[in-house]
C-alpha cells in the first residue's frame, strides 16, 4: 500500500504552498495525524499531517520548494514496498499531475441561502453522519476554519457559516441566534454538533441552552459568554482600523505567535471591513455584546447537561483562559500552552484531534493514558447508590467539583472507587438531553 503525502488546500484561495521544513526524516514511522512538514501559504503557515500510517519512504519535495495544491510532497508506504515501486509511484504521479485539476484544488465552494434573517453564506464539506456546524468569532468568517474543515469532514458534513454582518452574509444587523436557527432550518438540520470560536461560541451556547434537543454536543473554543472580561483594545481596535498599519497590531493579538499574521491575512480582513455596512454591523454587535469593554452576556452554562468540550489557548489576549474554569463539571477542558485566542488556527492539528475524539466518543474524548476529570456529583451518586452514605458525604466534603483521576487517586482508593470503571461509566454516559 502506497499513500501520497500531498500539498493540502487550506482555504478557498490557496493554489500553492512553500515547503518550509520537513519535521521528520525519511524512514520515520508515522501514524495518522503525525506532523510531517511545515508549509507556508500566502495567508498563514500550517503543518501538514500524515494522512495514513506507515513509513515516510520518500521526501519528494525539497525544503523551500513551491508545490501546487495536490502536488506531491512525499510518499508513505510500509517496509514491504520496494524502492523500485516507490520510484514508479512518484514517476507515475508526476507524469499525470496537472495543477488545478485535482479534487483538492477545486475544494468546496461557498453557497448562499436566503433566510428571514438575511442572506447567509456557508460552506459544506463531507457527508453522512451527524452534522457539525462551525461558528466563527467577532469580525471573522468561514475562512477561519481553513485548517479544520477538511480534517473534520471525514464521515460527517461540516458546515462553516458566516454569521450576519460577517464574510459573505448580509450586513444588516440581525440576531445571531435567530440566524443560526434560520440556517439550520434552511438546511434541514434537525440536530447538530456545534463548535464556536469566541463570539461564535456564545451563539452556540445560546442555542444549546435554548434548544438542547437540537444540539448533539457543544465545543467552545476560547468562547465569549463564560466571564465578563474581554480585551476592549482588541474589539475597538478591530472596528476602528482602516489601514494595514492600524490593523496589523490588532490582528497580532489573536495569536501567541504574531508572525502568523501575514500581509494577505491583513488584506483579506481590510477587504471585509471596507464593505458597506460592516462597520455599523460590528459596532452594533459590540454595543450589544461587549459594551464598555465588558461582556454583557455571561451564560448559565451549568444548565446545559450535554457533552461539552472547552478548548482555550493559555496565552489568549482577547478573552482570558481563566474563564475556562467557569465551564460546568461535565466539561472536558483543555488549555493549550503557547497558543493565543485562535487555537483552531494556531494549534489546528491538536484542536482537530480533540474535536474528532470528542465527536466520536460522545461525552469525553481523552485517551486512556491521560488523566480524567470526572464530576464529583457522579462519584457521590455512585457511593449513595451503593448505600455508603458516610463515604458519599466524605467524598462530597473532600473532593473538588472536578475530580482528577490521577491526583485524587489516593482518596478514590480509600473510598473503594475503581477509577477505571469510573472513567468508563463517565465515557459511556449517554448525552443528557432536555
Amino acid at each position: 500500500m502506497i499513500d501520497k503525502l500531498g500539498m493540502p488546500k487550506w482555504g478557498l484561495s490557496m493554489t500553492e504552498g512553500r515547503l518550509i521544513e520537513w519535521l521528520v526524516d525519511e524512514g520515520a514511522e508515522l501514524t495518522v495525524g503525525d506532523e510531517v512538514a511545515e508549509v507556508e501559504t500566502e495567508k498563514i503557515n500550517g503543518v501538514v499531517e500524515a494522512p495514513a500510517a506507515g513509513i515516510l519512504r520518500r521526501r519528494v519535495a525539497a525544503e523551500n520548494e513551491v508545490i501546487p495544491v495536490g502536488g506531491l510532497l512525499g510518499v508513505i508506504a510500509d517496509a514491504s514496498v520496494t524502492e523500485a515501486e516507490i520510484d514508479a509511484f512518484v514517476a507515475d504521479f508526476q507524469a499525470g499531475f496537472v495543477p488545478g485539476e485535482t479534487e483538492e484544488d477545486a475544494g468546496p465552494q461557498p453557497q448562499t441561502v436566503a433566510t428571514e434573517t438575511g442572506v447567509l453564506r456557508f460552506l459544506v464539506q463531507g457527508e453522512g453522519g451527524e452534522p457539525l456546524v462551525l461558528l466563527h468569532g467577532f469580525g471573522g468568517d468561514l475562512g477561519n476554519w481553513l485548517f479544520n474543515l477538511d480534517p473534520l469532514s471525514g464521515g460527517r458534513p461540516v458546515y462553516a457559516l458566516d454569521l450576519p454582518g460577517h464574510g459573505g452574509s448580509s450586513k444588516q444587523p440581525a440576531d445571531l441566534l435567530a440566524a443560526l436557527r434560520a440556517f439550520l432550518d434552511s438546511q434541514g438540520i434537525a440536530r447538530a454538533h456545534l463548535a464556536g470560536h469566541s463570539m461564535g461560541g456564545l451563539v452556540a451556547a445560546d442555542l444549546a441552552l435554548a434548544e438542547p434537543d437540537r444540539v448533539l454536543s457543544l465545543t467552545l473554543i476560547a468562547p465569549a459568554g463564560l466571564g465578563e472580561e474581554i480585551n476592549r483594545e482588541y474589539i475597538d481596535g478591530f472596528i476602528a482600523a482602516t489601514g494595514r498599519r492600524d490593523l496589523k497590531p490588532v490582528l497580532q493579538q489573536l495569536f501567541a505567535d504574531p508572525g502568523l499574521v501575514t500581509r494577505s491575512m491583513i488584506d483579506d480582513v481590510l477587504k471585509y471591513k471596507r464593505l458597506d455596512g460592516v462597520r455599523e454591523a460590528l459596532q452594533t454587535l459590540r454595543d450589544r455584546l461587549f459594551p464598555d469593554g465588558r461582556q454583557a452576556r455571561v451564560v448559565a452554562l451549568d444548565r446545559y447537561g450535554g457533552p461539552l468540550l472547552v478548548i482555550w489557548g493559555e496565552r489568549d489576549e482577547v478573552i482570558p483562559a481563566a474563564h475556562a474554569q467557569a465551564a460546568p463539571a461535565q466539561a472536558e477542558t483543555h488549555v493549550l500552552a503557547d497558543v493565543g485566542h485562535s487555537p483552531h488556527m494556531e494549534a489546528a492539528g491538536e484542536v482537530n484531534r480533540l474535536l474528532e475524539r470528542f465527536l466520536a466518543g460522545g461525552q469525553a474524548g481523552r485517551s486512556e493514558e491521560e488523566t480524567m476529570l470526572v464530576p464529583k456529583t457522579m462519584i457521590v451518586e455512585q457511593l449513595r447508590a451503593r448505600g455508603d452514605t458516610e463515604a458519599a458525604e466524605r467524598a462530597d466534603r473532600e473532593l473538588g467539583e472536578k475530580v482528577d483521576t490521577e491526583q485524587d487517586a489516593g482518596l478514590l482508593a480509600d473510598l473503594q472507587i475503581d477509577t477505571r470503571k469510573l472513567v468508563e461509566s463517565f465515557r459511556g454516559q449517554s448525552p443528557a438531553v432536555g
Binding site: P110, G243, L275
Partner: protein, 339 residues
C-alpha cells in the same frame, strides 16, 4: 461575494451602485450615453469604450451627453457640486484637460479654501490616460503629476479592478474634487471584486509583494510591470517590495518610508514625463526624509522627456517595461545573495 470582472466592469458597477444609493449622483460627459442624438436605449453605447453602458436606461435623466466642450463639462460639474449634486464628469482623454484647466485648478480646487471651508465640491472627473494603444501623442499622456501639483485636488490612479471600484466609490463619496485616472490598457484586466459596495480610503498604499532588498513604487499600469519585474528578479535572488500608491494625492508617504527603511533601496516607476513628475517627487521626499537609510541612490524608471511617439516601435521603446525596471533594480541591488 467576490467574482471575477474586468476593470471596466468594476468602474461601471461602482457608478451604478452609487447612483442607486444616492440620487444626487449624476453622470455626464461626451458620449457617456453615446446615442448620437437618438433617444433610444439601443443606441446608448455608453462611451467610446462602453464604460458607462447600461447606466442611461437605468437612471433616466441622470446620465447626460454633453457638447464637445470640456470647459462646459467641467464647469458644469464644479457648479453642480457646489450647489448640492455629486457629479461624475467624464473627460474622454486626459490630454484634453488643457481647455478646461481653469475650471479644475482655479475654480473647483480653490472653493474649499476661498470660501473658508464653508463650501464643499464633491465632484469626480473620470478620465482615460496612458500610452500603449497607438493613439499618438495627443491621446496617450500620463498627466497625473499636473493634478498632483495642485492643492485642493485629490488624484486617484487605480491599478486593479478591486481598487478601481473601491476607489471610485470613495471618490464619489468624498467632499473634495477628485481626478480619477483610468489607464486605457487596464480596461480588460480581470480580477476578484466583491458584488457589494465598498470604499477604499485615500492615502492607503497597497503593498502587493513583500521583499527586503529593494522598494519598487508605482501607480496604475506600471504596478503590473513592477510586479512582473519583481517576479523575474526573485528568480535571481533579489526580493522587491512592490508598493502601489493608489492615490498620488493624498500620498501615503508612511508606507513608502517604512519600506525604504527596511530595504534601503528605492526604484520608482512612473509613466509620466520625468521632469517634475511623480517619480521625481517620491525620490525627493524619500531622500529628504530617509537619507540615512539609503544604501544606494534612488532610481527613476520613466519614459524619456519627449511626447509619446506614434510609431509602434518607438512607443514600445518609450514606455517602461519589466526589463527596464529589472535593470534599474539590479543596478542598485548590489550582489544578489543567491545568484
Amino acid at each position: 461575494m467576490a467574482r471575477t470582472i474586468t476593470f471596466q466592469q468594476a468602474i461601471n458597477e461602482a457608478l451604478a451602485q452609487e447612483m442607486e444609493r444616492d440620487p444626487s449622483v449624476v453622470v455626464f460627459g461626451e458620449d457617456v450615453v453615446g446615442g448620437a442624438g437618438a433617444p433610444g436605449e439601443d443606441d446608448a453605447w455608453g462611451g467610446v469604450l462602453g464604460v458607462t453602458k447600461g447606466l442611461y436606461p437605468k437612471f433616466p435623466g441622470r446620465v447626460l451627453d454633453t457638447p464637445i466642450s470640456e470647459s462646459a463639462i467641467v464647469g458644469a460639474a464644479a457648479g453642480a457640486a457646489a450647489s448640492g449634486l455629486r457629479p461624475v464628469a467624464e473627460l474622454m482623454f486626459v490630454d484634453f484637460v488643457g481647455v478646461c484647466l481653469d475650471q479644475i485648478y482655479n475654480q473647483a480646487a480653490k472653493f474649499r479654501y476661498m470660501f473658508g471651508g464653508k463650501a464643499v465640491t464633491p465632484m469626480v472627473i473620470r478620465t482615460m490616460f496612458g500610452a500603449g494603444i497607438r493613439a499618438a501623442s495627443q491621446h496617450s499622456q500620463s498627466l497625473y503629476p499636473i493634478f498632483t501639483h495642485i492643492p485642493g485636488l485629490k488624484v486617484v490612479v487605480p491599478s486593479t479592478p478591486y481598487d478601481a471600484k473601491g476607489l471610485l466609490i470613495q471618490a464619489i463619496r468624498d467632499d473634495d474634487p477628485v481626478i480619477f485616472l483610468e489607464h486605457k490598457v487596464l480596461y480588460t484586466v480581470e480580477g476578484d471584486v466583491p458584488e457589494e459596495a465598498y470604499a477604499i480610503p485615500f492615502a492607503e498604499a497597497n503593498v502587493l509583494r513583500e521583499g527586503d532588498d529593494v522598494t519598487l513604487v508605482a501607480v496604475g499600469r506600471m504596478v503590473h510591470l513592477a510586479e512582473q519585474a519583481a517576479e523575474a528578479l526573485a528568480g535571481e535572488g533579489i526580493e522587491c517590495e512592490v508598493v502601489d500608491l493608489r492615490t498620488t494625492s493624498p500620498l501615503d508617504e508612511d508606507t513608502i518610508l517604512e519600506s525604504v527603511e527596511n530595504t534601503g533601496r528605492l526604484v520608482v516607476v512612473d509613466e509620466a514625463n520625468p521632469r517634475c513628475g511623480l517619480a521625481a517627487d517620491i525620490v525627493a521626499r524619500v531622500t529628504q526624509e530617509a537619507f540615512g537609510e539609503l544604501k544606494a541612490p534612488p532610481r527613476m524608471v520613466t519614459p524619456p522627456h519627449t511626447p509619446v511617439p506614434f510609431s509602434p516601435i518607438l512607443e514600445d521603446a518609450y514606455v517602461p517595461t519589466p526589463e527596464t525596471i529589472a535593470e534599474a533594480v539590479r543596478s542598485i541591488a548590489g550582489a544578489p545573495a543567491a545568484a
